[in-house]
Each structure stands twice: as structure tokens, then as C-alpha cells.
């Protein structure tokens, strides 16, 4: 509604998109080298927009949505998904592992910079 009142350019927009940070935080993606055993987790991550994540402190973005997250004392972040389920971001050294409630898991790796885009 904010958009409708202030800008003619967004006339008709009815959904709100999370404002992803332009530079801060890091972009992470599922690690494709995890092998076939990780393919259920890879597919699950993709359909939920979590195949590529921006992690900026306690803020986690998946596609145009900001995921609600709670960080436990051991550093594990529990992310709430739109369908009511959850997934854990588990620190693993310098990286993370994404673990879904159904047991599917896949490591994440930091995304290399895209050609022509400054990260």
C-alpha cells in the first residue's frame, strides 16, 4: 500500500518484496559437488528459493523474501519457510550446511562474483 500511495510507477503492485542489501553480507549457494545423495536437498532448496541465499548478519534472504530466523547459542540459525516448515543453517567451519526438517541436507559455498557485477 505504501508503494501505491507514493509512486505511480508501482501502480498495481500488490506484493511486497524484501529489499535485499546492495552490498553487505555474502551470497551463498548450494554446493553442486555434493553428489547425488544431496539432490533431494538441492531440489528442495531450489523450489523454496534457498539455492541462493544472502546472509547478512542475522538477516537471511531467499529470492524476494526475507526469511524469519532465530539464532541459537551454538550458532545454528533456524529459518522459517513460507509453507510453515523450517530449515537449519548450521555453521561448518567457514561455511554452512543447509538442513531441512525432513532430514535433507546440502553444504553451501560462497558464490563467486558474477561477471560484470561487483559483489
Amino acid at each position: 500500500m505504501f508503494c501505491l500511495l507514493l509512486s505511480a510507477s508501482c501502480k498495481g503492485a500488490s506484493e511486497s518484496a524484501a529489499q535485499v542489501p546492495a552490498r553487505s553480507g555474502d551470497v551463498w549457494e548450494i554446493d553442486g559437488s555434493a553428489g547425488r545423495a544431496a539432490s533431494p536437498a538441492a531440489m528442495l532448496a531450489f523450489v523454496n528459493g534457498m539455492h541462493v541465499l544472502i546472509i547478512d548478519g542475522d538477516d537471511v534472504f531467499a529470492g524476494t523474501q526475507q526469511l524469519k530466523s532465530n539464532r541459537a547459542p551454538d550458532g545454528v540459525r533456524t529459518l522459517q519457510l513460507a509453507d510453515g516448515s523450517s530449515a537449519d543453517l548450521v555453521p561448518n567451519g567457514e561455511t554452512f550446511e543447509l538442513r531441512f526438517a525432513g532430514g535433507e541436507r546440502i553444504p553451501l559455498r560462497k558464490q563467486a562474483a558474477h561477471a560484470g557485477v561487483s559483489q
Partner: protein, 394 residues
């Protein structure tokens, strides 16, 4: 009649012949056509009947006439409330120690009863089969005794199912084809060779005769990307997560309401002969977002290239996300659809589902994969159309 249990193309093939004369297959087919409102050419169906095929040339016109009259009569009495009974030879899986249960093969996703009627093939699937699939035995000693009993009988049972025809299509998305008959199990029991009851699956309260389950008309994102948002917000996300965004102007073959598009990695997820840089690598992501005249995102297509992934992983993950499938196709690529029907100009592949949400499983078939006998890469394509907006544009 000869009904046969068959695994869908996606799963490993297994065929088991049903017990003969246990199902009025013609009435199943006619009930299906009547229920979904699909016109059937009774004259052509009559001409294909075995009686007509066996008739002499002299008698054939009269036999056709009688056969068509019989079909018309059967169609008139076809009623969605009719309860059918079929008996099929089935088997029971080995014990699953993790889940503490056995499984009934017929009730697994991808298994259907093959019916030949009216001169064509029908695939009979049970929409509530998954709820009846398990034979729970949490107690291992009881499971062991049950297993021994099954082993002595070669694990084969006769599955007697009472059902009603409720619509078209397989809600699990596993079984595709021109005539997929969706039925609902009212009761079932597994019998041994002597006719003694081995197990009686528990059927929850049946739904109404008409197909009651609505699909996910309210879906507004694919792969976390939403329609109905401002283009500049989506562009910032695409740029940060997926790469350089290019702007495309309206093309003549686009849907009338689209004015421009935001694109990342245009066509770089597709396998094309001789393409620069070689075939797409696993992990490549491609996004196209179509915008209306007010720069609002009205449709999104997201593609990702995976190392090999089996179609069952694709299917089961999407069903978990979007619920029962409203349309499943397998014409070149495996495709599933959900949500509201949309105009064919809005869908990615016109031979696939014409629904507001669609997912495609596309296996690469390049010369390198074939020559190395390697598993193909898989391109998964998700597309979402803002159906409410699209309807208003017609």
C-alpha cells in the same frame, strides 16, 4: 477384461496381470467421460469393439448399429456414484525397518491399472492410494511373524478394491497420458490365495463424488521469487543473487499484457548444439521476469541446471511444495501443473500444462552424454503467471 498394473514410465517397469472379469472396464471409461464432460465418439468406439471386428462384412453394419445403441444406453446409465470393484494381483514389499512398515505395491506413486476400453487406453489411478500404502507394524516381533507369512505365500496377494471414479489426472503427478482416470478407494482388502484376509487398509472418510481438492491457486512465488512486486525490487534481487540483468523490450509473440522483461543468463540454461562455452554447467541459474505497463512483475520463469537428479525427486519435492497436481504431461519433457488454467500464450511449453504454475523436468541429451553413457544433466524450469492479472487482460 484384462486390467494390468503398470509402473509409470518414470519408475522401473513392473507389470502384473489382474484377475479376469473383475471390472466393467467399459463402464469405467464411460463414467470417466461423462464425469469430466468430455465428448466421446460412440460411433468410432462402436466400430472398434471386438464384436464388430469379428463380424463378417455382410453383418458389420447391423453389429455396429447394435453396438452403438448399447454404448448409448451404457453412457446414459453411467453415474459418478457407481461403485466399482476390481481385483488385481498385487504384492507387499519387504519390511522397512526405519519406518516400521510394509508397503502395498499398487498404492505406491506411479503405479496404475491399465484398462483397454472403447478401443483406447485408460490409466486408472487412485487419488487416495498413498494414505493406504503402508501396512504399519511398529512391533518388530509382530512384523517378523507377518513377514514369514508373506514369504510363505511368495509375498503375493489379491488386492480387492471398491472405488468410485472422481475425475481426471493423477494428483501425485506420476502417471501421465491422454486418459488418466482418477478414482477414489472406498474400501480395500488384501487376500491370500485361499481367499483369507491378510490385511485391511484403513480408508479415511471419502470425499464427495465430485473432485473436492482445490489446487494452489494462491501460489505467488516460484523459487522464492514473487509476482505482483515492483520490477526494480526484483531487479535488485536478481542482480545480487543471479548475475547481470538485461532489459528486453516487448516482442511481438508475447502475451498482450507484457511490455518488457528482466533477464539473467538468457538461454544459458538450454542445451544447444555448438553453443559457445560448451553445454550449461550444473549450478547455472537463468531467470526471466515479464513486466506489465506499470513495471509490475506478472510472470517469472526460473531455471536451474542440476547434475543428474531422478524424476521422482523432482515430482515428490514439488508435490510437497504445491500440493496435488492438477495436470501432468510427458511430451518430450516431464511437466507438472498447478493452479488456475491460463491462456496458452502464457505458458513456457504449449504441449505441457496450461496452468498458472508449471514445473518442467528436462534431461539433456547431448552427444557427449550419449557417447560417454553418462547420466544427463537436468534442467528444472519453474514458471509462475499472475493468473488474476492475466484474466483481467483478456
Amino acid at each position: 477384461m484384462k486390467a494390468i498394473i503398470v509402473f509409470a514410465l518414470l519408475l522401473s517397469a513392473a507389470t502384473v496381470e489382474a484377475q479376469s472379469d473383475s471390472l466393467d472396464d467399459r463402464l469405467v471409461a464411460l463414467t470417466f467421460h461423462k464425469l469430466i464432460g468430455e465428448t466421446i465418439d460412440l460411433r468410432a468406439a462402436g466400430e472398434r469393439s471386438p464384436l464388430v471386428q469379428r463380424a463378417s462384412g455382410f453383418d458389420r453394419p447391423d453389429v455396429i448399429k447394435a453396438e452403438v445403441a448399447r454404448l448409448e444406453s451404457d453412457l446414459a446409465r453411467a453415474d459418478a456414484r457407481h461403485e466399482f470393484v476390481v481385483r488385481v494381483n498385487d504384492n507387499i514389499s519387504e519390511y522397512d525397518h526405519d519406518r516400521g512398515e510394509f508397503s502395498i505395491m499398487l498404492f505406491k506413486p506411479g503405479v496404475y491399472i491399465d484398462i483397454q476400453a472403447l478401443g483406447q487406453q485408460y490409466r486408472l489411478v487412485f487419488g487416495n492410494a498413498d494414505a493406504l500404502r503402508a501396512i504399519p507394524f511398529p512391533n518388530r516381533e509382530e512384523a517378523r511373524a507377518f513377514d514369514a507369512k508373506l514369504t510363505s505365500a511368495g509375498r503375493f496377494v489379491s488386492n480387492e478394491i471398491r472405488f468410485r471414479v472422481v475425475g481426471a489426472g493423477d494428483p501425485s503427478g506420476s502417471v501421465t497420458g491422454a486418459h488418466v482416470v482418477r478414482a477414489e478407494i472406498l474400501s480395500a482388502r488384501l487376500l491370500d490365495r485361499r481367499g483369507a484376509v491378510v490385511f485391511t487398509p484403513r480408508v479415511s472418510a471419502p470425499t464427495a463424488v465430485a473432485e473436492a481438492k482445490s489446487t494452489s491457486a494462491e501460489v505467488n512465488d516460484v523459487a522464492g521469487l514473487h509476482v505482483g512486486v515492483r520490477a526494480k525490487d526484483l531487479e535488485a534481487t536478481m542482480q545480487r543473487m543471479y548475475g547481470v540483468v538485461t532489459h528486453q523490450k516487448r516482442s511481438t509473440n508475447w502475451f498482450a499484457g507484457y511490455q518488457s522483461a528482466l533477464v539473467v543468463n538468457d538461454m544459458k540454461c538450454m542445451d544447444m548444439p555448438g553453443q559457445r562455452g560448451g553445454p550449461p554447467k550444473p549450478g547455472t541459474v537463468c531467470v526471466t521476469a515479464w513486466l506489465d505497463g506499470s513495471d509490475v512483475v506478472r510472470s517469472i520463469r526460473v531455471e536451474r541446471v542440476f547434475s543428474y537428479m531422478d524424476p521422482e525427486t523432482f515430482r515428490s519435492t514439488l508435490v510437497k511444495k504445491y500440493g496435488p497436481v492438477s495436470s501432468a504431461k510427458e511430451a518430450g519433457r516431464y511437466a507438472l501443473g498447478w493452479g488456475t488454467p491460463v491462456d496458452s500464450s502464457l505458458v513456457y511449453d504449449r504441449s505441457g500444462p496450461r496452468t498458472s504454475v508449471a514445473a518442467y523436468y528436462d534431461a539433456s541429451d547431448d552427444m557427449f552424454s550419449r557417447s560417454m553413457n553418462a547420466l544427463p544433466r537436468i534442467r528444472v524450469i519453474l514458471q509462475l503467471v499472475d493468473a488474476g492479472w492475466a484474466t483481467s487482460k483478456h
